[in-house]
């Protein structure tokens, strides 16, 4: 155990030097970093939001709405299909996950089933056949039930979350946050991390808006104040910024969908000076918009956002250029936000913020400072104890401890792991746990010396006897930290990460490196007694 071949010595030294080089960019100033090649300058530890400041939001997609939308779509579809197939019905009702149709004539069930099967959309279409149908049609006398299958629900949920992530990403990109993290979590959640964002209010407001925009005709035949809308129409409230009426009777039929918008910008109207949102359709939307406005000159046309009427201007002339303007008592901020929302597109379902953790940049900087102080103080105290107890061998252990910290930082930098405040606590705790190996070894050497063994024999026995104990103790810690990493969330994971790295690296620094130092010292000084 005490022999080191020449190449082994080179390897050990090279590892330490490489570690030092890798972690160096963490401590260089901004200007120095700029002058370095980027692959090297980027070799830095990523700081967690609790250290750099920022906002962590956990969003949940409202899956109930997703499913309800699909069921409502089925109701509309069923109505149309039955009408084309000339099947009479008395009622179509929407259930939780199914639509029930009461037929007027039980003899028509076959026709009805055939027509309703036409509503099916294949899901999970990986095969040429296009996968399974997403609905199951069943018959019970004159009642036909169209139920969404389990696969269909899952598929719909996956689609909804993927779409939501895309929309969330676009909306956040619009706000100009640097390096946001947007990731799916579980089946219906989205994790959003926004470094440097101190007050996530605006982001939360942007993400909390579904932004489903539709252009629909106003039903002038009814009075909204009666509270009753004719079939095919509904009463919608006016948005908060709206003027004039507080509610409108709006046709349910969507004339132009907001999804056909190509662009939207906020500006001030040159005449009135108030804030407006200019929008532009793609070619399909522009054609549709031209048709509608041509056919309905002189009638009010409502712009509806999330079931609220923003404005309902009267069409003065056909708009054929595919451009328009929304004015609705906007402030500069609300006009800009609406433009952002329209550009990014609508969410498939509402999002809820279910967890927020925000740390201001000052607190983050304070945490880094106190964390570094704690590590420095801890290091010095452990070193004083080790040197007082084991003299030169204690000093070797301290040097190894320093290298341990360097290599841990290097490992974190290489893997771009995130350092959090609990992570710093992990570094601190590693200081205590890593020297355990050296204490074990030194105590063993001491015992062996007292038994009257020679210098080399004592060292040999000390290392080999202590080794299995060291492996044991480090393995148990590693098991714990793996569990914490799997089940812990957020910053606490950082604790598991630094301790695991620290412990694994201590297997190298506290045993191999220290042994090399001891052996070198032994060969050079040829002592008759060991300093333990």
């Amino acid at each position: 155990m005490l022999y080191f071949s020449r190449w082994k010595i080179y390897m050990i030294v090279a590892t330490c030097v490489a570690g030092f080089i890798v972690m160096l960019p963490n401590f260089l100033g901004r200007e120095t970093l700029a002058s370095l090649p980027s692959w090297y300058a980027n070799s830095r530890v990523a700081l967690g939001l609790d250290l750099r400041g920022g906002s962590h939001l956990l969003l949940e997609v409202d899956m109930a709405t997703v499913i309800r939308d699909r069921v409502e779509g089925l109701v509309d579809g069923a109505r149309q299909q039955l009408r084309t197939a000339n099947v009479g019905y008395t009622a179509i009702t929407a259930g939780d996950r199914a639509v029930t149709v009461q037929l007027r004539d039980a003899a028509q069930t076959d026709d009805a089933v055939k027509a309703l099967r036409g509503l099916s959309n294949p899901v999970g279409g990986v095969t040429m056949a296009g996968g399974q149908p997403d609905i199951a049609v069943s018959v019970n006398g004159p009642t036909v039930t169209v139920a969404l299958s389990e696969v269909a629900l899952r598929d719909r949920a996956t689609q909804a979350i993927e779409q939501s992530i895309e929309i969330v990403r676009r909306r956040i990109d619009e706000t100009g946050v640097n390096e946001p993290t947007i990731a799916r979590q579980g089946t219906d959640r989205i994790l959003v991390q926004l470094p440097g964002v101190e007050d996530p209010d605006r982001v939360k407001r942007l993400l909390g808006t579904t932004a489903k925009m539709t252009f629909r005709l106003v039903d002038s035949s009814a009075d909204p104040s009666t509270g009753r809308a004719p079939p095919g129409s509904e009463i919608l409230p006016s948005s908060e910024g709206g003027r004039g009426q507080t509610s409108y009777v709006i046709r349910k039929k969507v004339e132009v969908d907001g999804a056909t918008l190509k662009n939207a910008t906020a500006s001030t109207n040159s005449q009135s000076g108030e804030w407006v949102v200019n929008f532009e359709f793609n070619s399909a939307g522009a054609n549709r918009f031209a048709e509608i406005t041509k056919a309905n000159v002189g009638r009010p046309f409502a712009i509806v956002l999330d079931n609220k009427v923003i404005s309902a201007p009267v069409i003065r002339e056909p708009i054929t250029g595919g451009r328009g303007q929304i004015s609705g008592n906007f402030s500069a901020a609300s006009a800009n936000d609406l433009a952002v929302l329209l550009r990014a597109g609508a969410l498939p379902a509402p999002l809820k913020v279910i967890e927020e953790r925000t740390v201001g940049p000052d607190l983050g900087a304070d945490s880094i400072r106190s964390g570094l102080t704690a590590v420095a103080v801890g290091f010095v105290m452990v070193c004083v104890y080790m040197i007082a107890s084991y003299g030169l061998f204690g000093a070797f252990a301290c040097f190894a401890l320093l290298i341990n910290i360097v290599l841990t930082l290097a490992a974190l930098s290489l893997l771009h792991a995130t350092l959090t405040l609990p992570g710093i606590a992990g570094v601190l705790l590693t200081l205590g746990l890593a020297v355990d190996a050296n204490i074990l070894i030194n105590e063993r050497i001491r015992e062996e010396t007292k038994k009257g063994r020679g210098v080399f024999a004592s060292m040999e026995a000390g290392f080999s006897r202590a080794y299995s104990t060291i492996v044991d103790s480090n393995l148990t810690t590693a098991i714990k930290m793996a569990l914490l990493f799997i089940f812990g969330t957020g910053t606490i994971k950082g604790f598991a990460v630094t301790i695991t790295f620290g412990i694994l690296i201590s297997m190298f620094t506290a045993t191999v490196l220290v042994r090399l130092m001891m052996v070198t010292w032994l060969r050079q000084t040829r002592p008759t007694a060991l300093p333990v």
Binding site: E355, R357, S370, Y385, G432, L433, D472, L483, T489, V532
Partner: protein, 316 residues
């Protein structure tokens, strides 16, 4: 040449004389902890219970009375204010608001806005708002981690040693953990994810310590084939005492800075770890070893003559 020794070499403390005292004290503390765990129970942090924590820094020394009055006036249930660090730093805790997860966000924003008007110039340094569904999951995950850690330890020790050692280690571990939980109950420290991390760390540390002492016992079992188990256990503990105390000392020294200036979150962590190191060290000597003595009296020393009349008679 001066060398710091925590205990002199050749220390021969008859630890096993105190085996009943150790076990009884430990059992008493653990039972008391269990009672405290149910009544009054733990002070669960927002990770596990949901709710809102806001850390703010006021421009002058915080006027707690008026701030409490203002915030209580919002009608959002009990508002706890706590000074920490300097007299300008205040920690505001609100219970989980009724309603769904989003209700926490609304309440947090309301407190933020109120702070801005009530004490102008206040800096909101940290906001955490956790809803019920998230906190429920975090709690389940935390408990899962603890349970699996326990199981993993049992399997590990079982694999490495004879079953007497494994049982001794796990019983000791349970006693250790209940005491830590009891400490959380007595002090009212926040029991949250950080607490789970602390308990896991202490479990690791405790097992670690037991492995070292057990290792030595096993080694001595092979060397001194005729020594009574009781003397052998005492000898093993004494031989490893300098290491046990040394490692505890180093861990202590490295954790002290955390308890001193670890900030709001890590201060508690540091304090609990300090206690945990103490509990784990003493339990290796006073709990794990006596359990092994009781379990292994006849089995681990099969065939060895008993020379100690005070010991229970062995079957040949």
């Amino acid at each position: 040449m001066f060398r710091l020794r925590l205990v002199p070499d050749n220390t021969k403390i008859p630890f096993m004389n105190g085996r009943y005292a150790g076990l009884i004290t430990s059992a008493f503390l653990s039972i008391a902890s269990l009672i405290l765990f149910f009544h009054p129970g733990l002070n669960y942090g927002i990770d596990f219970r949901g709710g809102i924590v806001i850390e703010a820094r006021t421009p002058q020394a915080t006027d707690f009375a008026s701030l409490r009055h203002t915030l209580t006036g919002l009608g959002m249930g009990q508002v706890a204010l706590q000074e920490f660090g300097s007299n300008q730093d205040v920690l505001i805790r609100l219970e989980r608001q009724p309603g769904d997860d989003a209700a926490q966000q609304v309440a947090a924003d309301k407190v933020r806005a109120t702070l801005a008007t009530a004490v102008p110039g206040t800096q909101v340094r940290r906001v955490e708002a956790v809803g019920a569904s998230v906190s429920g999951e975090l709690f389940a995950n935390g408990m899962m981690a603890l349970g699996l850690a326990m199981l993993a330890m049992l399997l590990y020790i079982w694999f490495r040693f004879e079953w007497q050692f494994g049982l001794g280690a796990v019983v000791t571990l349970l006693l250790d953990i209940t005491k830590i939980v009891g400490f959380y109950a007595v002090t009212g420290l926040q029991f949250n994810l950080v607490a789970v991390a602390a308990i896991l760390t202490i479990m690791g540390y405790s097992i670690n310590d037991k492995v070292v002492v057990y290792d030595r016992m096993r080694e001595n079992l092979r060397i001194y084939k005729k020594m009574p188990l009781r003397d052998l256990i005492d000898l093993s503990i004494n031989e490893t005492l300098n290491r046990t105390l040394g490692t505890s000392m180093c861990t202590f020294l490295s954790v002290i800075p955390l308890a001193l200036f670890g900030g709001e979150a890590l201060q508690d962590f540091g304090i609990v770890l300090l206690l945990g190191v103490f509990i784990a060290t003493t339990s290796s000597i006073f709990i794990a070893a006596p359990i092994l003595l009781f379990l292994g009296e006849n089995r681990l020393r099969r065939g060895a003559p008993d020379v100690q009349p005070t010991n229970a008679p062995t079957t040949p």
